[in-house]
Point group: C4
Chain length 274, copies 4
């Protein structure tokens, strides 16, 4: 118990040092240089991704979606701090992987999402990940708070078969305000994510990854829907046949097939909202 | 049992006297004088608050939201009796803390919300409270009727950790029509609220408070959502890790951070409704 | 058992005779004469009632709402067979209490709701009833199929305390297509309703009554919502405090108070639908 | 065990042969010739059917609805691969019962729904079926995964009394990507459907049939709703009275009565969506 407290104390000290070091570095280092303008189609899709997730009730002013820069794997794109359904192309900002905004003179730090480190730290550890969502999707909260494992109910949510761990922030940082508000916590989360497609955050929400922007949106929608369906099925008092890992592998091998047409439907509906 | 009946009888007599006294006073006293025009931005936000809550299905023609006057802590602002989604700036009325309308010649009492005493009496006892909502949010009813304690499922509803009591009107007034229709019942409710952020009302709904208008709207939305999520989690048959009180304190200490941007999204959506 | 079969057989014979008698009578009798034009405001409210219930997901092309004629208690007003959200003032038809359309030359019987007898027969037996709804509201079906009694969860649904019986059509007519397709079945239903405010119909839906059009709409909305809330509460595994009959009586004594303003909000929202 | 593996191996070989044979045939055979233009009203209804189901949340870019050609029972009509809410009349394609598109030079195979074989193979085995829906309706998934039998809760869903089997693709093809991506799997599904009105697909969704386009839409809506209502009722801990098979037969004998007017309401609402 004592040693646990000591370890926790040491960890906090380290976290503090990391923050101080970052601040000093931020002051000392020049602002990162842009990797150049991304493909305008990527920006358009990023704006649509946020609108689609907001239209599904999965993003509000506290959640966000990002995509890796198509010209430089060490940069990612995300909106400044805005409710997803208010974002337009001109609100998209380029970040380096330490989650520092690039080339945005005059923009105050308070105009950025506090938890952008979720994105930067996952991009650092997972070169295969091209897009990330952070959501407070309601149906996921009960699974995060109870540690009941999510299992794939149907083919649209097959990726769940690869395992969805739960991040308990108390194990890393004790009692906090629950936010991933620095690189250290972002790194802890990315480590807990490991090779999995998504991770629940106890008492908070989830982070979801995918190899494309369209797939991270689909995964967020179907992870959330699967949670609802699984909770319902668990209450039916009968054994549940989940997707087998082999079925999931076969589905994921052709995943994306047909997604483009669903994307167009989602986008049309979301962009028509006032 | 007999003494209980006597106590109840005495209480009713007192309540009746209070009502009579109020009526006499109302007849005798001049109408209260206005504290002057409030900040137009406050009025705009109050109208938006009602629209946002109506858009979330949390207010109809029987619920209401108020804010303390920015020029005088002994006054509050609330609409006349109108469905929240029909209210405009010109429908906002100033009240004194006895819930008497200020400077509204010609407006009949029947044009006011019967339960405005919820607001006036809470503002009297709680100088820290700047905004109050009275709602019949459906998801809260089951918790009020069963006395199952609400617990915080995630950071957006952290304030629940400070305790949400239940008001049983029978203990104060026996069998009633359930309404808080005078200062005495309003005072009873405010006393039962104590220092808590909100109180459920058995067989009726809830009263929610906050230090700002934006936060009382957010608290109403997340109190309601938390009830749904908690009921779902309780059915999963696994232990639930709720937010710790220390986590809640840290979250509340920076609460409001980021709320402004979610507010803009909510407002845009609500005001676009026909 | 044998006597039950005999009784059932006798009953069917009676029903058949009733139908035959009706047909003969319909052929022999002249069409009923109109009681004169109703108050245009009543027609406007009847159209709005259907739109509001459709907007709440409680009426489609198979449910209907009617109101007693303001000039003649032996007449009622209801739309011809149309989806509630398509009805306009010119679709409203006058019926006598045998549910025969008045003064509508050229309108084929197939253009009327088959189950209009629900309305006519209730108006016959219940002079206090001024408006009737027949709905297939989803949340009511499970209560009708299980015979679990509906109980009032909160003040908006207080009238439930007066008892909501369940109509089992098999007891009256054996195996049927479930429809109240003649005066005999309508009479059976009205008898089972008795003095209650509403009745569930097993495997079918419900019939709801009230002393005004606005209240029958409110009762339909809150009966349906109460069913959802009660089912949720029953799963919480804790004793439920329902409204007491005395509370319900006090609420009903002033029921309608404040309903007009909620009605305006509902109507504005429903009529704005394309 | 060994023999099971052998049987499975043999089956896969057969499936492969079938695919190869189909490809050769497709290359060798001329494209099928059109049966001529269908009734424009049928096309209009087919487009509306997809929009109505999308508006109910029952079709997206991965589900589809088809109708048998009114001029030739060996042809069916379905949209090219598009999200149902984006389909217009010009997107409707004619298929032969081997699910080969007719007269569509220049259209790549990737522009078609992979699972169109569901439709073609059902039309082959079931001459009475005039319309087919393939959906991933969320409420059906739990029933498919648990094998809990669907039972009819109320008259709108009476057809469920005729039995809704579950298709376990593993029994036919082992571990797959769950899709009905060729004639062999389509035939297996159609055989499992037998004479039933619909079939659930474990871990995937459902296929629903009917003698008309309007009825297949209504059946999809009410199959989905019935699943929700039945799951709710099962949790009430009381015996449930389902519709009797005789009640269902009587209802189905006049099924369609009144559907036209509900269809108009659904269509108006769905077509008004942007």
């Amino acid at each position: 118990m004592v040693s646990a407290l000591l370890r926790r104390g040491a960890r906090r000290l380290l976290a503090l040092c990391a923050i101080l070091a970052f601040c000093c570095a931020a002051a000392a280092q020049p602002a990162p240089i842009s990797a150049g303008p991304p493909d305008p189609k990527l920006i358009e899709d990023l704006v649509a991704a946020g609108r689609i997730l907001a239209d599904h009730g999965l993003l509000d002013g506290w959640g966000h979606v990002s995509v890796r820069h198509d010209k430089d794997p060490d940069r990612y794109l995300m909106s400044r701090g805005l409710s997803a359904d208010l974002v337009t192309a001109k609100d998209i900002i380029e970040f380096d992987l330490d989650s520092r905004p690039v080339d945005t003179p005059g923009l105050p730090m308070s105009g950025l999402f506090t938890e952008r480190y979720i994105h930067g730290e996952i991009y650092k550890l997972r070169p295969d990940v091209m897009a990330v969502v952070h959501t407070h999707a309601p149906s996921l909260i009960a699974f995060g708070d109870t540690n009941v494992p999510l299992k794939p109910m149907y083919h649209r949510a097959a990726f769940i078969a690869f395992g969805i761990p739960v991040f308990e922030i108390r194990e890393k940082a004790g009692m906090t305000d629950m936010l991933i508000r620095n690189m250290t916590l972002g790194h802890d989360l990315a480590e807990a994510l490991g090779d999995h497609p998504a991770i629940l955050m106890r008492g908070h929400g989830a982070a979801i990854t995918a190899p494309t922007l369209q797939r991270v949106v689909a995964r967020t929608i179907f992870l959330s829907l699967n949670a609802t369906l699984q909770a319902d099925a668990m209450r039916m008092g009968a054994p549940i046949t989940y997707l087998d890992i082999e079925e999931a592998r076969k589905i994921e091998a052709r995943e994306g097939h047909g997604l483009a047409r669903t994307w167009e439907g989602w986008k049309k509906k979301a962009m028509a909202k006032p």
